[in-house]
Amino acid sequence: MSLFSSDHKAVARRYLWSGLGFLLLGGVLALLIRWQWALPGQPVPGLAWALPESHGALTPPSYTAVFTMHGLIMIFFAVTPLLFGALGHFVLPLAIGARGLAFPRLSALGYQVYAVGGVLVLASFGVRLGPASAGWTAYPPLSTPAFTPGLGQTLVTVAVLCAAASAFLYGLNFVVTVVRCRAPGMTWGRLPLTVWGLFFASVLNVLFVPVLAAATALLLMDRLLGTQFFIAGAAAVGGGGDPVVYQHLFWLFGHPEVYILILPAWGMVGDFVAFFSRRPAHGYRLTAGAMGAVTALSGLVYAHHLFTSGMSPLLGRAFMVLTLIISLPAQVMFLNWLMTLWRGSVRLTSPMLAALGTMVVFGLGGITGLALGAVATDVPLHGTLWVVGHFHLTMGAASFLAVFAGLYFWFPKMYGRAMHEGLAKAHVLSSAVLFLGVFGGQLAAGYAGQLRRLYDPYQYTYLKHLLALNQWTTVFAFLLGAVQVLFVVNLVWTLRRGRAAEQNPWEVGTLEWTSALSPPPEGNFATVPVVLRGPHALSQPEVLERLGRDWIGQAEPLPEPASSEADDALGSVSTVGGAT
């Protein structure tokens, strides 16, 4: 694969490696934050080269840069690119039986724009006055040059704009691809749930990423051109700009972004739970419909981030009702997953373990968000680590585990080699448990009142007693970082000397496994498959009877009963290459 190939699988691999790199960087930054809360002001071993004046200890300015860059890198340069850029680009065309994305050169361009953004982010670490430090939300006026003069903030603002542009491009590409490029017979009711999740999330990308781009572009003009879009104050003196407008724009993107990150994860969980319970997804239409309902509501709930901004009580009431309503479809979906497990034949493979882990952390994250959706209970918890723990469970832990569920699931298809199941299981299981330790510790500290983003929380008397809790949370965080070695070892080992993967190791029927080679060539399919059934045709009695196995490809004709013995010999391999 050349570096400039616009084949969707090549683009996916580029996103995969960049995303993993940024995941590592963002994770290291997270550990620095945790270090500071466990041992405030103590030198970090090995950091003296970066912070010589403090002998490697985080100073308040370096700490603000660290938490700003952690949030920003994780959202815009690690998790989103891994979910959409890597898994989305790779799976989406294959799973709908398309030869590629609708606009292949656009997807290659999208990666290049993202890469430029990534370079700018890295460059911001090297400029005078350091990288961005106004928080990942970059609320003005703090993010304007008057209060954050450094070049780093400007570079990072441009980088976010680049990430937004690339997200818009692949969002548009995915939407058009799903609408226009499905294989014959691939009706909307036969899409894998992963594709549903990616599709809805792409719709959100197309709708709301431009809002982020607008807010960021206006902020950039305030920084570079001397405009005053977000500098006070329209409300007080009837002229100039208003910082609150930025907050509305930012969260009008920022809240849908939560669903942009979690919808693909939901889709994968829905598929994997069905695949590895060996039965069709319970309430497939309900689940897809619930994802659609969440998508439709996602932009209508954003202002619960502004409950304490002093906005009108009428708005507060409306957004409270809408926010609480969004928990209904989420519950429908969750119950459907549980019902799929029930009376299935559960196989605890590594993708399944990761999917179950996603269910658990997402469930906990969702439930801890309820109290943030109602105005009165939001007030004591607003701005505390409770919020941090809540969204790290949903956007962090759940998305992370879903990325790895997808990676372990599709890796044999991406590289034609099988990863080590034992290492993979140990990795996802220990990650899930440690995520609960880390973010559970944050929830507890936040409940006790610890505010987020404090360089030294123990300046406050009422937070002093939380030191021990924070230290334990930090221990879990470092363990979490350490167990990622299991993944790295597995990856390096598999790519170097992993055994060739079987054609359909998970014994499922979706098109990428049953109609394409591993790894698929450019153009994906020898002949375009004709889809005959849904994605979860598992344990069907007539399939068992006629083929002797509990799965059948989405495009694989079921032989007539009379000729069943002859067709038994044709395994999965015969269907590969579009034997339809």
């Binding site: 006070a232 559960v346 658990v360 505390t384 300046q459 406050y460």
Partner: protein, 330 residues
């Protein structure tokens, strides 16, 4: 444990007026003996003294009249450090916070039940059906799908409904009900101006009007009498700050260009902390103030003396010192 007010001395010294007065013998102020570490932990578990908020059966404001407000002897510091593993909300020192706490308590009980059911179901299903031989080959029956919808709707109505109604009752009675401080003649009005990185507070003085020479200005040092409504109007000079009184369940953004307002009522005397919860720059973590809740008598004495000193120090030409505004009625 270090005495509580020590952290405030640097900024409080800037413009602080009337630190310790002859009138109150220093009790409850900076010179107060700090015995907070010995104070038993009074934190109620969420839900103390209140069942599900019903709103309707309550007096209009849901507040306790000053005479019956529970008080702690002056000089104690209720926000003393706790045991390492005390993981409750910060102690509630307000007359209304228990309603939020009760609601949160209910929400957590529901959460615990939902988690137990879902997690139990998941673990049991995985254990019971691991590698099972007989597998349902359908995506659910009409009945099983109806069960899913019914269960989701039931949980939604109970859990979200409780939160919605309880929250709404609190908003109506307290958070958005500015009739209470507006109509109570005892109400204390404070104008707070947030800076990087300190809280500047302005009191109207004894004449009750802002913008007159007897305006009292303090830094990182809020003083309020116990048991009366305290009405705060809030601005910011530079960036967005977050004004929070964790022990009074108060949180509100201070945003340049607009005046936000909130109100609360202290249930007992003591000293609590004021914190900034919006990231406002490098020293955000040091944006700490103190809130002294005083007896009505010592508050009046302090205000009298501080106003007298303010009049003495008043400089007609120092316009920057007169940043206050005419009180804005809602």
């Amino acid at each position: 444990m270090s005495p509580l007010p020590s952290g405030a001395e640097d900024t409080a010294a800037l413009r602080e007026v009337g630190a310790a007065l002859p009138g109150n013998g220093g009790a409850g102020l900076h010179g107060a003996p700090e015995v907070g570490a010995a104070l038993p932990d009074e934190t109620p578990s969420p839900g103390r003294g209140d069942t599900l908020p019903d709103g309707a059966a309550r007096p209009e404001s849901g507040l306790v009249p000053p005479g019956s407000a529970p008080t702690v002897a002056a000089g104690l510091t209720p926000d003393a450090p706790r045991d390492a593993w005390t993981l409750a909300l910060p102690e509630d020192a307000s007359t209304h916070g228990h309603r939020i706490d009760a609601l949160l308590g209910w929400s957590h009980r529901f959460d615990a039940v939902l988690v137990a059911i879902a997690l139990g179901w998941l673990v049991f299903a995985v254990w019971r059906f691991r590698g099972a031989r007989r597998v349902a080959s359908d995506g659910g029956t009409r009945r099983s799908r109806a069960w899913v919808l019914g269960l989701a709707l039931g949980a939604f109505v109970v859990v979200d409904g409780t939160l919605l109604l309880g929250s709404h009752a609190y908003l109506r009675d307290v958070l958005w009900n500015f009739h209470v401080p507006a109509e109570d003649p005892r109400t204390v009005r404070i104008e707070v101006n947030a800076h990087q990185w300190s809280w500047e507070a302005r009191y109207a003085g004894e004449d009750g009007r802002f913008g007159t020479p007897d305006d009292v200005v303090t830094w990182n040092d809020l003083r309020v009498p116990v048991g009366v409504p305290v009405w705060v109007q809030l601005v910011s000079t530079d960036v967005v700050h977050g004004f929070s009184l964790p022990h009074f369940r108060v949180k509100l953004d201070a945003i340049p260009g607009r005046v936000n307002q909130t109100w609360f009522q202290a249930a007992r005397e003591g000293t609590w902390e004021v914190a900034c919860y919006q990231h406002c720059g490098t020293s955000h973590y040091k944006m700490r103030g103190l809130l002294h809740v005083m007896s009505p008598e010592s508050y009046a004495a302090w205000l009298h003396e501080a106003g007298r000193q303010a009049v003495q120090a008043h400089d007609e030409n120092d316009s920057a010192a007169r940043w206050g505004w005419e009180w804005k009625a809602p």
